[in-house]
Symmetry: C2
Subunit: 372 residues, 2 copies
């Protein structure tokens, strides 16, 4: 299959431009190396310009791509739809690939073809992108061998596909801001998010009590139960915290020195209310799209610090080895049954259904993972 063909989407615009770009590319390949290794054609989710993900993304077939001597061609097995993937397509993310672009940022696959100079990988190896990078929503990904990290084939693919963006964020946030010891506590909002679920479990593994805040919504009782089973010390809905002294609810748990906020607005204020004198709130998301509001006295008299966390900064090049050690640790927890989180696997054929779910158009849904 050598020509691009639209698989889904009303407009022909994307594929025409895409085809032109790939065609030029193929021409130059042809001139440079007659016997170049080529990938199979790849089915991919692409967007040509930024905007609402459900209207700007199309699933197309891409032309075969050259596999250079140090490249791996990986047959993708699974890749998640993370909130940051959506922000990248919307164009509101500070770092975004040049359009036209293939969506997705992390994922797992199986080595399919290795470049001529590759020695450390062989077809059949299970690999993830580490550090992650753009373009994982496609059936075949060709990238230089150094960005691939070999993992055990025993790892369930949905965990292998999702182990960096959320679990690694949870791990780093627990480690990087405040020195926490067994017996200490943390507080977080958005506790049912994937990061939230990971924080609960990683905290518990360290003997740290987690105080969790979730939204009031149908099913919040079940969500409480789920979090408690994962190891949450306390779970409150926001309306339960509509009282002056939230700390009276702590029941022997020490006041937290650190809090994690992925919601903003009033929910962030609840995190601040729980923090002990001198505590730190780390913001890593803003699901409510509302700013964080802080009283002057919180800063002066309660000595609170407010910080931000962005995994991207952590994934910087000089940390590659350290990141892989942490990823292996997280994957080992998965294999030991000590780290789990809710996910839903959806076939690539139903990508746009998964996307709608990830966009919240179908109510509260677990993390969507595309299976190729």
């Amino acid at each position: 299959m050598a020509a691009a063909a639209i698989v889904r989407g009303p407009s022909q615009q994307v594929s025409r431009i895409w085809r032109f770009a790939k065609f030029s590319n193929r021409q130059s390949v042809g001139i440079r190396a007659y016997s170049a290794l080529m990938s199979p054609p790849s089915k991919a989710v692409v967007y040509e310009h930024h905007g609402a993900p459900d209207s700007v993304t199309r699933v197309i077939e891409r032309l075969p791509e050259e596999i250079k001597e140090n490249d791996l061609c990986v047959k993708m097995l699974a890749s998640p739809i993370n909130p940051s993937d959506i922000n990248r397509i919307e164009g509101v993310y500070p770092i975004r690939p040049q359009v036209p672009a293939v969506g997705g940022y992390e994922g797992v696959g199986e080595v399919y073809i290795v470049g001529s100079a590759v020695r450390d990988f062989a077809p059949g190896d299970r690999v993830i992108l580490s550090p992650p990078s753009s373009g994982t929503w496609q059936t075949f990904v060709v990238k230089e061998q150094s960005v691939w990290h070999k993992i055990s084939k025993d790892t369930p693919i949905e965990y292998a596909a999702t182990i960096i963006v959320n679990p690694l964020s949870a791990l780093r946030m627990l480690e990087d801001f405040v020195s926490l010891n067994s017996g200490d506590s943390i507080v977080q909002n958005g506790a049912t998010s994937t990061v939230g679920q990971c924080i609960v479990q990683l905290a518990q593994l360290r003997g740290i009590h987690s105080i969790n805040i979730i939204r009031d919504r149908p099913g919040s009782d079940e969500a409480k139960e789920t979090l408690k089973k994962l190891g949450a010390a306390e779970v409150f809905t926001e309306s339960q915290l509509n009282l002056k002294n939230v700390k009276s609810l702590l029941d022997g748990i020490p006041e937290p020195a650190v809090g994690f906020n992925c919601v903003g607005g009033d929910s962030a204020s609840l995190v601040l209310k729980f923090l002990r004198h001198g505590g730190t709130m780390v913001t890593y998301g803003g699901m409510s799209k509302k700013p964080v509001s802080v009283s002057t006295s919180s800063f002066i008299f309660k000595d609170l610090s407010l910080r931000g966390f962005w995994l991207q900064k952590w994934l910087g090049s000089d940390k590659a080895t350290e990141c892989r050690r942490m990823i292996d640790y997280l994957l080992s927890l998965v294999l030991e049954g000590k780290l789990k989180y809710e996910m839903e696997m959806t076939s690539f054929d139903d990508f746009h259904i998964a996307l709608d779910k990830a966009l919240g158009k179908l109510g509260s849904q677990p993390k969507q993972v595309i299976r190729f």
Copy 2:
């Protein structure tokens, strides 16, 4: 003059209670030591309960007080009315003296009588309270010798009286949060405040450019001129900053790594707008009585940190020696003409006029300093 007498104020309530308390005290003194050293009676601003300072404060005469062997009795010369003094009387300050209490927190005086065991001070010595403590709004203050710090008699009393709460805050804020070098810049709002004026000068002495934000009000042009004369690199009114890219105004000055906020609300947002990636905003006041509001992306993508500063924490007991070194440094700058700020001296007889000015009832006014 052995009995308490009301000097000003319509209600007799305060002085009656006060008289009773002092009477009990005198009885016990009489039993313990027949030849006790006693201070002269002291004229003092007292409040019996917390509330609006202009209605709860009364000027009364206090009975003579025992001077114990390690005490100094100091004839006060001057003491300022700081915003925190007002907050203490209002009862909104986290640390407040037990009522009934004498107002005021810092000041300068002359040693009048020394306790029998005192060797390092003699009558006539010029002293300030270091660390500062409650009760400086009175003509004679009796406190243990260790809280007094001897200073040069050449120091103008209005500067000696005010050198800790505001100038020391300015110095610590410049030193404690971000490592600043010559050529760097800082940004602040409330720049016409005493702390603000000190920051401008202390920054300039270190070769640091100060970007200053002031309110739009009649006289803001003069305020700009005053700040520029003190060494401000840039002064903007808030309305001048009503544009998307405030950094385009910086004209060669590097983006600031640290900002100081004593206003809150929109004015704090202007400080945040100027900060460079990874910058820190330090809140030390909230003159607008509005909270600080911060976008999620400021935390995550701009990596801003928000902190608070409270001098009280700095004045903690183990820092006493260090504080006095810094105070001597600041006083030396005053003597060299390198540190100045606007003040108005008011006679103690007109205390309530000065208080009204400090409360903002008479428009924008310089720092009020009571001369005894």
